[in-house]
């Protein structure tokens, strides 16, 4: 067939268009029929492909590789936090501690259990901050510590993401209790904010020292339970109203505000210690 003689040869422009995939179907079909018969045009096709085709092929490969190698689209902040199951698991544990355990106690122990739930809620952000300091929660582990992004920015971003997930969950549990179980004083939801902030920012500030934030978080949690326990027992009443009275008390709120301001200020002043320090 290739020996078949023909007077007509395909134009270079047609062959180039065919190679680039731009030839209209009719032209492409007739060109293919002709190429089968014409050795001259076949070798011309090979020449043109070798000359112009590589750039085109490279571009196509680059596009393909770009598509295949595309990392997941989630923003890097989320990838550095929620995308890490270690952290997500820990956040779920925190939510469970804050919500489920006292909820179960409430189911079995009535109002006392409800008080336990109310006591535990402000500890959610504490857990969040303590977790944020742990190097294990970073997908790249220790590698991240030597990067320009390491430091308070990364830590507080993580803390915010976990607290942002844990707090609404805690409030949902509370709303559920209020709806199906027992009345929860509404004032409490607001009264929580300052103590929660104070406890969490204390842990954040502790992260700028040599203390292990995890131990500080535990101490802060125990301290909070002692304060509340003492306050409630001094009132000789263990019910949600007594607890709400205690937490919403101006003295406690003022102290919480002062602690929060002092802790945040300490953290900002000593922020460099987070970026250039590791206890272990």
């Amino acid at each position: 067939m290739s020996t078949h003689r023909t007077e007509w040869h395909a134009e270079d422009t047609s062959i180039a268009a065919y190679l680039a995939g731009d030839a209209p179907p009719v032209l492409a079909a007739s060109l293919e029929a002709h190429l089968l018969a014409c050795g001259t045009c076949r070798s011309r096709l090979a020449e043109l492909d070798a000359r112009d085709g590589t750039a085109e092929r490279d571009r196509a490969w680059a596009l393909l590789a770009d598509h295949v190698d595309r990392p997941s689209r989630s923003p890097w902040l989320l990838r550095s936090t929620v995308a890490t199951p270690a952290l997500l698991r820990a956040a779920l544990v925190a939510v469970a501690l804050v919500g489920l355990v006292p909820l179960l106690t409430a189911a079995t122990a009535g109002e006392r259990g409800l008080v336990a739930l109310l006591v535990a809620a402000p500890l959610a952000p504490v857990v969040a901050v303590a977790l944020a300091f742990r190097a294990e929660v970073d997908p790249a582990g220790q590698v991240s510590l030597a990067t320009p992004a390491a430091g308070l920015r990364l830590v507080s971003a993580r803390a915010l993401v976990v607290a942002g997930a844990a707090l609404p969950a805690a409030y949902l549990v509370l709303a559920a209790v209020d709806h199906w179980w027992a009345d929860v004083p509404v004032s409490l939801a607001l009264a929580w904010c300052l103590p929660g902030l104070a406890l969490a920012s204390t842990v954040l500030a502790a992260g700028t020292t040599r203390l292990d934030p995890t131990y500080v978080a535990v101490s802060v949690g125990v301290g909070w339970a002692l304060v509340v326990g003492a306050g409630v027992s001094a009132r000789r009443r263990v019910d949600p109203e007594a607890f709400a009275d205690l937490v919403a008390h101006p003295t406690l709120q003022l102290v919480a505000l002062l602690v929060a301001v002092a802790a945040v200020a300490t953290t900002v002043v000593r922020r460099d210690a987070v970026a250039y320090r590791r206890t272990a």
Partner: protein, 295 residues
Amino acid sequence: MTSRPVTGPTVPGVVTAAPPLSFAGVTRSFGRSRAVDAVSLTAGPGVVGLLGPNGAGKSTLLRIAATVLAPDRGEVRLLGLDPSRPDERLEVRRRLGYLPQAPGLYPGFTPFDLVDYVAVLKEHTHAARRREEVRRVLVSVGLEDDMHRKIRRLSGGTRQRVALAAALLGDPDLLVLDEPATGLDPEQRLRLRSLLSQARTVVMATHHIAEVSSVCHEVHVVLGGRVHFSGPPAGLAALAAGRVWEDDRPDPRAVHSWLTPAGTHRHVGEPPAGAALVAPTLDDGYLLLTAEARR
């Protein structure tokens, strides 16, 4: 291997560049134990080996060199910059690659996603260029076929190469590598050597003497938190000059002695009169140094 000057080239009238790494009286304790004890050394450019037994303080020195850990006392200069100053530390971190001893990579990521994440932390903000760079480093450590598999499905040596790829991002001026050859097979070790020889300054911890003799321009022997030797590898071998001999029988007076494959007993220590002295190797120098440090 021939040694090359420890400091940069000295040209009259030209300010000599600061050594890539310099420690002066650097001390770091953990609780009561002093991991690094008043270490002063300058290192680089080229491949610098920190040689020493486990627990000698190599990793602590490297973590200080990687700006991950601040020293309790002492002056640190990395690439001529002071990491205790926030702005200079940021600059160092932009030009630094770090491979920790236990990287702790999250196993649910693929190597590509993981190195891409590190690239984000390293301020590679342009998405297309970042992807290209991530591909480049992964290919350079030989992970072209594994870059889209989950890390948990990869072997230990392959994971090590993922962390190495992350350290190579952005072609850093200073590479700090803690036991980079861990888990690598002989072929991968060879590849690592050629990677290291292309880097500007590499500071690496190792307890393999063979690694030091094959890639390092200079070596620092770390024992008990202190530096006991600094110099070219040949200098470490030269420490044992005239103190290595071979005999048919074991010699109880030797500091160390062992049976060689040739069937003779090789001894390191103070040779008896008339002993058949042999040329020392790096191992001999290192063994003598550790034995003397212990005394």
